[in-house]
């Protein structure tokens, strides 16, 4: 189990108390501790997000005959950060500001950021939710199929398919699918709309394209985790005991493999956020990432949206921790 830190670190009592082995068994106490720790974590994430998103604004440029030199204006940086923190503490996300630049003349400005968040984020979250639920179901089924059938060819196919999906520039897949839809439409076959937003059918194609990468990722993680679990000793015991294959796979192995699958969710969320920008841009879903791309470099908007993304990521992370508490049998034994 988790032991006190080794090596150069002096093992403080706090750290030992924080380590999982010595957490008291009571579920309620464990949950309260978890929530408190996560709240601290959220505050840290928020502060760091603000600090990072204000970095580019304080860059200064001195134009020369050819090229330019860059500097960093610390006074402007801390001024911006402190004023933004003040706005946040007063309970709002601030207003979008007009930047002095030639490319901002066509964008609207001066509206509250919370307004933009209220319009944009539910759309992104709907897309994210539909796509991730598709990919969790499909990914686990695809990953488990190999362990069910024990077909050797399936592993090679799975690996090459997953690597192909993870290596292809995904926007090309999205654009080609969009092209296909348009071509089908011109031949008189109307399956799905190629782009747009408003109805359920609009979100279906983006969601399917969006779920490709997470599906590949989850299928790979499931396959690897099941492979690892199935070669362990207690599975051999279960087989020797006379368990059916079904019982071995779904009761004994999947229970342990689920931990690793759940552990991969935060990184899947992180990957999905990046893909969100691509999918929203190509399919014209007016969500958060699309809004960020269209308004070119408004600091308050960027910071507000980044905070909301961080909140979503934190939520996923928190749910994963919570699920660990319930799924991990070792924690149950400790209680």
């Amino acid at each position: 189990m988790n032991e006190a830190p080794r090596g150069g670190a002096t093992s403080s009592t706090i750290e030992i108390a924080m380590s999982r082995a010595s957490i008291p068994g009571n579920l309620a106490i464990r949950l309260v501790r978890l929530i408190l720790r996560k709240m601290l974590y959220l505050a840290g994430i928020g502060l760091a997000v603000v600090l990072v998103s204000f970095l580019p604004t304080a860059l200064t440029f001195d134009a020369h005959k050819i090229g330019f030199s860059m500097g960093f204006n610390w006074a402007k940086y801390w001024g911006g950060v402190s004023s933004y923190l003040g706005i946040l503490l007063s309970g709002s996300f601030g207003d979008t500001v007009r930047r002095a630049g030639t490319f901002t003349y066509f964008t609207e400005f001066g509206y509250p950021v919370s307004e933009a968040i209220r319009f944009a984020f539910p759309r992104s979250l709907a897309l994210l939710g539909i796509a991730l639920s598709i990919s969790v179901v499909a990914g686990i089924i695809i990953g488990l199929y190999g362990t069910n059938t024990r077909a050797k060819w399936y592993y090679g196919l799975l690996l090459s398919g997953v690597l192909a999906i993870l290596s292809a520039p995904d926007f090309v897949i999205a654009l080609l699918s969009q092209r296909l839809i348009v071509n089908l439409h011109s031949w008189g076959i109307n399956i799905l709309p190629a782009a747009g937003f408003g109805e359920m059918k609009h979100i279906l194609l983006p969601a399917i394209i969006f779920s490709l990468v997470p599906t590949a990722y989850i299928a790979r993680v499931t396959s690897v985790a099941m492979d690892g679990v199935l070669s362990s000793d207690y599975i051999r015991t279960a087989i020797a005991k006379g368990c059916t294959d079904r019982a071995v796979i779904y009761k004994h192995a999947l229970r342990n493999a689920a931990l690793r699958i759940i552990d991969s969710f935060p990184s899947i969320a992180s990957i999905s956020f990046a893909n969100l920008a691509i999918v929203e841009y190509i399919f014209y879903v007016p969500g958060a990432a699309y809004k960020l791309i269209v308004t070119k470099g408004d600091v308050y908007l960027t910071a507000g949206f980044a905070l909301c993304f961080a909140l979503v990521y934190f939520f996923v992370d928190f749910m994963v921790s919570l699920m660990r508490e319930f799924v991990d049998p070792r924690l149950k034994e400790a209680s």
Binding site: R6, Y41, P56, A63, S167, P169, F273, G297
Partner: protein
């Protein structure tokens, strides 16, 4: 599947073999691409006219694939094949620079955080959480846009030079994703630090520096090789995606085709810039998009395959020392094609 390791069937490590061949092909093109290029990648060609049955026929620049332009030409009439052959080198150099910069930043921090724990560990985890929460694509997009917009604000003296934009690009792409890597290294170091041989080293009286350099780093070495291959492919994927949003090396150079008709184009042969006009040309001139996209797929896929093959090889020989692991992977690759199945 449920039998012990000894009775397993023997199987070749195809990802390693195919990945190595593909990476060698990428290196071959990167080194010799400029020699192999049939035309000058900077050479533009304008309107063409030919005498058809109905009179003179004019054709405008995105020329389809023909004997003259093997993969077609782009919107300024430059040969796609030559531009791609030139671009592979710069893309590869940039990906190598980004991945090595990430590793240079991440490995020392991860090592120290994993060994000393405490504040450093908290900082690393927090960094990883922050940069995992904010999408790296959006972060690098916003940062590079804010940097590039004043640079191309229309004043001719205010353009980015090639060096500036390469340095900025590499810096931003490396900074955006290194905390995730540091956290990965940290968790692995923590895992290694819990193993019995480290306990043995501590009880034998070895200091922290000796343990890190003589015991942990050799264990970590092969995994860093795998990580760097993966980071190369990740960096290239990020370059491709930024290209979609119009951010690329030498970005935002506007070229006047005719009076009142400006298009965004870059002088340099660069893969990211070739797919920046994907929306406009996918229907009318698909060869302008398909070939750069396939090039990205080829390079990214070959490094992904190599990483997967290396990972499997490392895993198989995990009982031995790290140098022996790498050596075994190489020897087995060159000597025989038969390996035991991955024991997972």
């Amino acid at each position: 599947m449920h039998t012990s390791k000894r009775y397993r069937a023997y199987k070749a490590n195809y990802p390693l073999i195919i990945g190595s061949v593909l990476v060698l092909s990428v290196l071959f093109i990167a080194i010799l691409g400029s020699v192999l290029a049939p035309r000058d990648p900077y050479l533009k060609s304008g309107l063409r006219f030919s005498e058809g049955p109905d009179g003179t026929v004019f054709t405008a620049p995105p020329f389809p694939p023909s004997a003259e332009f093997l993969l077609g030409s782009d919107h300024l009439g430059r040969d796609m094949l030559s531009r791609i052959l030139y671009a592979v080198r710069s893309a590869l150099i940039m990906a190598l620079a980004v991945s090595s910069l990430r590793l240079v930043l991440a490995v020392p921090l991860g090592l120290l955080a994993g060994w000393y724990r405490g504040v450093l560990e908290a900082i690393t985890r927090q960094f990883a959480a922050v940069f995992g929460a904010v999408p790296s694509l959006l972060l690098s997009f916003v940062a590079l846009k804010i940097i590039f917009v004043p640079a191309v604000s229309g004043r001719p003296g205010n353009m980015l030079t090639l060096t500036d934009s390469v340095v900025l690009f590499i810096g931003v792409l490396a900074l955006v994703e290194w905390p995730r890597l540091a956290d990965q290294v940290r968790s692995r170091v923590t895992e290694i630090a819990g193993e019995p041989f480290i306990e043995g080293a501590i009880s034998a009286g070895a200091g922290s520096a000796r343990i890190i350099f003589r015991h942990i780093l050799p264990q970590l070495g092969p995994e860093i090789v795998v990580m760097s291959a993966l980071e190369i492919s990740r960096a290239l994927l990020l370059v491709a995606r930024l290209g979609l949003f119009g951010i690329y090396i030498g970005g935002g150079v506007y070229e006047e085709i005719m009076p009142d008709y400006w298009i965004q184009a870059t002088l340099y042969p660069e893969l990211g810039s070739m797919i920046s006009d994907v929306r406009r040309y996918l229907r009318t001139a698909p060869w302008m998009i398909i070939w750069p996209a396939l090039t990205f797929f080829w390079i990214i896929g070959s490094f992904n395959l190599l990483a997967e093959g290396l990972r499997v090889s490392m895993h198989r020989f995990s009982e031995r020392g790290s140098i022996a692991r790498l050596w075994n992977a190489l020897v087995n690759f060159f000597r025989s094609r038969w390996h035991p199945v991955r024991s997972a």
